[in-house]
């Protein structure tokens, strides 16, 4: 039953990919992209936790009879996490603009006046 695990495998691969990006890249924007990939991996993981085969969106449609819904709680969690991710990303990009204004570069090997 490999099909059931495919989303998890994707999520883990994405997570490792994002982690690799933030460890290996030197450009600040690329690091932020890596962070966002990591976050998206977790979102994918959360969403696939609530998936049920053949399920529909968990909203009230008025149709009577037997129906399968996907689990709504992971979707709510993911939405919250997306909002938080958006806020973090916006903050990060705003500070990045300031970093560029002060340092004239986005190479993190040169943004290192604080040390020791």
């Amino acid at each position: 039953m490999i099909e059931g695990y495919i989303p998890y495998i994707f999520a883990i691969s994405l997570f490792v990919l994002g982690l690799g990006t933030i460890v290996m890249k030197n450009n600040l924007i690329k690091i932020l992209i890596g962070l966002d990939i990591m976050e998206s991996a977790v979102h994918l993981f959360l969403i696939s936790l609530g998936y049920r085969t053949g399920g529909t969106a968990p909203i009230w449609t008025g149709i009577t009879g037997e129906k399968i819904f996907v689990l709504p709680i992971p979707q709510a969690l993911t939405l919250t996490a997306i909002v938080i991710g958006l806020a973090t990303l916006a903050m990060a990009l705003s500070i990045t603009v300031q970093v560029y204004r002060h340092y004239g570069t986005l190479d993190i090997r040169e943004i290192r006046r604080l040390r020791g």
Partner: protein, 519 residues
Amino acid sequence: MNIMEHIAILVVITPLFGAFSTPFVSLAGKKAADIWVGIFSGLTFVFSILLGLKVLRSGIVIYTLGAPEPAIATVDYNGLIFPVRILLEVDALSALLALVISLIGFFAAIYSWRYMEHDTGVEKFYTLFLLLLTGMLGIVLTGDIFNMYVFLEIMSISAYALVAFRKETFEAVEAGIKYLVVGSAASTLILLAVAILYGVYGSLTIAQIAHLIEVSPSPLIWGALALYLTGFILKAGIVPLHMWLIDAHPAAPSSISALLSGVVIKTGAYAIIRIFFTLYGVEVMNRALIGWIIVVIAVITMFVGGSLGLIQQDLKRLLAYSSVAQMGYIALGIGVALIAFNTTAGDAGLVGALFHLLNHAIMKGMLFLIAGVILHQLGTRNINEMGGLIKKMPITSACFIIGGLAIAGVPPFNGFVSKLILYEASAMISPALAVIAIISSALTLGMYLRVIQTAFLGRAPETLKDIRDPPASMLIPIVILAILIVIFGILPSLPVDSIITPAVEAVKNQASYLSAVLP
């Protein structure tokens, strides 16, 4: 509307309302915004005291959002009842943390009145300040792991913005972006841990997950524990993930530094305690292994913080290194308590850790406020450019000397008492630990003696002629915190018996935390 009934949620929503109403109030001028923030942080402090009294009187307080009961009967599982709703669960540990947070927050708010007078965009500063308070209070009061993550992010994002607040300086911007990247990486790890726990147990309530872990521990939860631990070790600023702290805490405005060093990193320590002792419970985990991991990290932390603090020239950077060292002491207490749970040593470790947490919040809060006074009056943070300050600003200098000696563990101040408890607790596990702790304490003494000798005693340089004590609104918080240091030093049984011991009992008594929520 009975206030005591809703006291738990009021602690969280009072600063939240203050945060979003401040932009409107600041239309009436900066003075109005000052008063408004003072009122709301003061109200939060009062509500925290009331909450603490209620917890001490009637045990764990449960507050469910949107419904009278946390539990709901399921259709699928034959009417089985289990908690699904969002809830606040306040035991003595949470109440202690809430009290410390709102105390330091209140003083930092009053201090900010005059400290931030030369900055622009003060209403945004106040909004972020109150959001930071909201986030911290939410973390310690919530009974739900996903809400803990949400509040953690509210706290972290406000903290990133506040660190980068003085965006005209390169230091603030650089520290801000570094703090942001490592902080969000850690937050992602924590979110992954939450997702794993949700995937395994289908619940987010701490009590419910703890119950299920007790019943059927799955191997996946240990991966979640490692993720959690890494995330919160970073948030707590423990070595080897302390480097953001050293950059970020000095870069923030000083009232925020006091809050960051005093209480924000303590929420990481709180979360570690909560995860070990309540969420996972000591019965299912390999206490010796995990305890020794924490102890080893703690010992390294103490040494790194103490030894590197010794060579710093920048006053706020030195204070940040001292924070790292003191977080090591708190972690040492937690580790000892894990290794020797429910023995004399373990209890002493927990008492020491929580008492040191309280003491360090007071001491480091005060020291950072004083560093801000020096920066405000002198315009420099370099220790070598200061001198003879005790003649120019006697009250501030006296408070700094008290705080410096207290944090270095000199009797009869409060830092000595909590460190003594930690020495004895760790010596019961292994005398070598106590020796390293004492050596690290000596290093801390060295760095504070250096500051006291250079900056406060000796002769004043020619450049520092007309330096005075700061205005009253900056001085009063410092003096009150200094008085608290002395009182807690002379009368250690006062805080220990009244608030620390109930918190320790709450940490040890996982069953009552669970039974308060589970039907």
